[in-house]
Amino acid sequence: MSEPGHPANPPTPPAGWPPPPPGGVPPQPAGFPAQPAGFPPQPAGFPPPPVGFPPGSAPASASGGGKRWLVTVAVAVVVLLAAGITSYVVSSSYARTAVSQSCDIYKCIPRLKAESVVTALKDRGYTCTTDANHETCELQIGAFYFDASLQVSEGLITRINLRVYREASAPLTPGSVAFLKWFGALPYRDDPVLAAEIEAWVDQQVEATKDAKAVIGDYEYSLTNPEPHSVLFEIKGTYS
């Protein structure tokens, strides 16, 4: 048997297959095997399927490829939106519940306007002065001198320095402790539980008359007794 495809051996049609007439559609030749029952008759003029190619394996045609790319794009868009929305929700809820807010290079007490604190203190009878980025309010009552200095950045408070000075023989009074505690609770003024904890901490340190430091949330609390007559209390945002 000669090799198929060899130029010297052109393929031969199967027996009974007459060579197609040139330039015409092959008519159903006589003797062609009958089609199985139920199979729709091939319409006249329909070209025979390409021989040698498994059915359905045609490489992506123009329209098939487009559909696939549509699927890819759709998946990407859905993922993009899902990821965007999810991370937006997560990060915005994180930012919304943050206990500090960045202000310039500092961390500040979120949303609390330094101006509103100064106004509240003025209304309470304190004398306040502004010096560069510091707002200082003071009040002297009898043997006690109260001093609160707020370091302001972008209108917010990044640091609070308190001083309660009293003359000799005067122990810290409940009013003096209330002064320290009120400022201590400022960063957590909307969180009664944490504010109460901070106030309890101040009470403890005052009672112990010890120098103490604590980091609570994003703030560093430092209560010191540098001399017998004065108590210093600093509340500052930790640097970002």
């Binding site: 060899h6 130029p7 393929p11 899902a82 809820s93 509240a120 009878g125 209330a178």
Partner: protein, 223 residues
């Protein structure tokens, strides 16, 4: 039935390149290759979309969201030091100087150098008994207005525990407690007994402080 070969005249041997006879073809069928590419492209696009969406959404959420929190401070507790506490409640210059010292005891008073307190000047009134006793004792009153008395301070040079000193401290306490009528007796009593010590006490909203150097009694607001 013979396999159709290349068209006549084609020189190809009829086998795929690099595929020796009897071995499966190296290249995957086109269908599988297309599917793998599609999956790869889709996964790749999804990963890129995940990262981009996550970064953009996260950044936007973080940088555009203002934290919650009130813009004002929490209310002050009742005992938070108040400006009104700077002055002896209800005590007036008239009460101390006119009623007690001048009218009842014929003392003489004069203004002295003002003191600066809280960035403001506070007036100082200095009062002495008349005649020979003028240097034995004195009372100073620090005030900003008639009804804004910051401090009343009695000093006695008659000797610690001396009767005149006891009387001075006692009547001074009695005077500044006039507005707190129910506490007058208690205050006067404490001042008489503790004038020769360095004790202090808080009665009502006034702080009484006894001193020895020099011997004196001071009435200032408590906080």
């Amino acid at each position: 039935m013979t396999v159709p070969g290349p068209y006549p005249g084609h020189p190809a041997p009829g086998f795929p390149p690099h595929a020796p006879m009897g071995q499966p073809p190296v290249a995957r069928p086109p269908r599988e290759r297309g599917k793998a590419g599609f999956v790869l492209a889709t996964v790749g696009a999804a990963v890129v979309a995940l990262l981009c969406g996550g970064a953009v959404g996260g950044g936007a959420g973080f940088f555009t969201t203002e934290p919650e929190g009130s813009e004002t401070a929490q209310p002050f507790p009742d005992n938070f030091p108040h400006g009104d506490q700077q002055y002896l409640r209800g005590v007036t210059v008239k009460l101390v100087v006119d009623e007690w010292l001048k009218k009842a005891n014929d003392w003489e008073c004069e203004s002295r150098e003002p003191r600066e307190i809280n960035g403001r000047n506070a007036d100082v009134m200095w009062c002495n008994p008349p005649g020979d006793a003028s240097s034995d004792m004195h009372v100073t009153i620090v005030y900003e207005a008639d009804d804004k008395v910051r401090e009343v301070d009695a000093t006695c040079w008659e000797g610690v525990g001396a009767k005149p000193c006891e009387a001075l401290f006692s009547t001074m306490a009695d005077t500044v407690f006039v507005p707190q009528e129910s506490l007058r007796g208690k205050a006067a009593d404490w001042a008489a007994k503790n004038g020769g010590t360095e004790r202090f006490t808080v009665i009502g909203d006034i702080r009484l402080e006894a001193n020895l150097d020099p011997n004196g009694m001071r009435a200032i607001p408590a906080v």
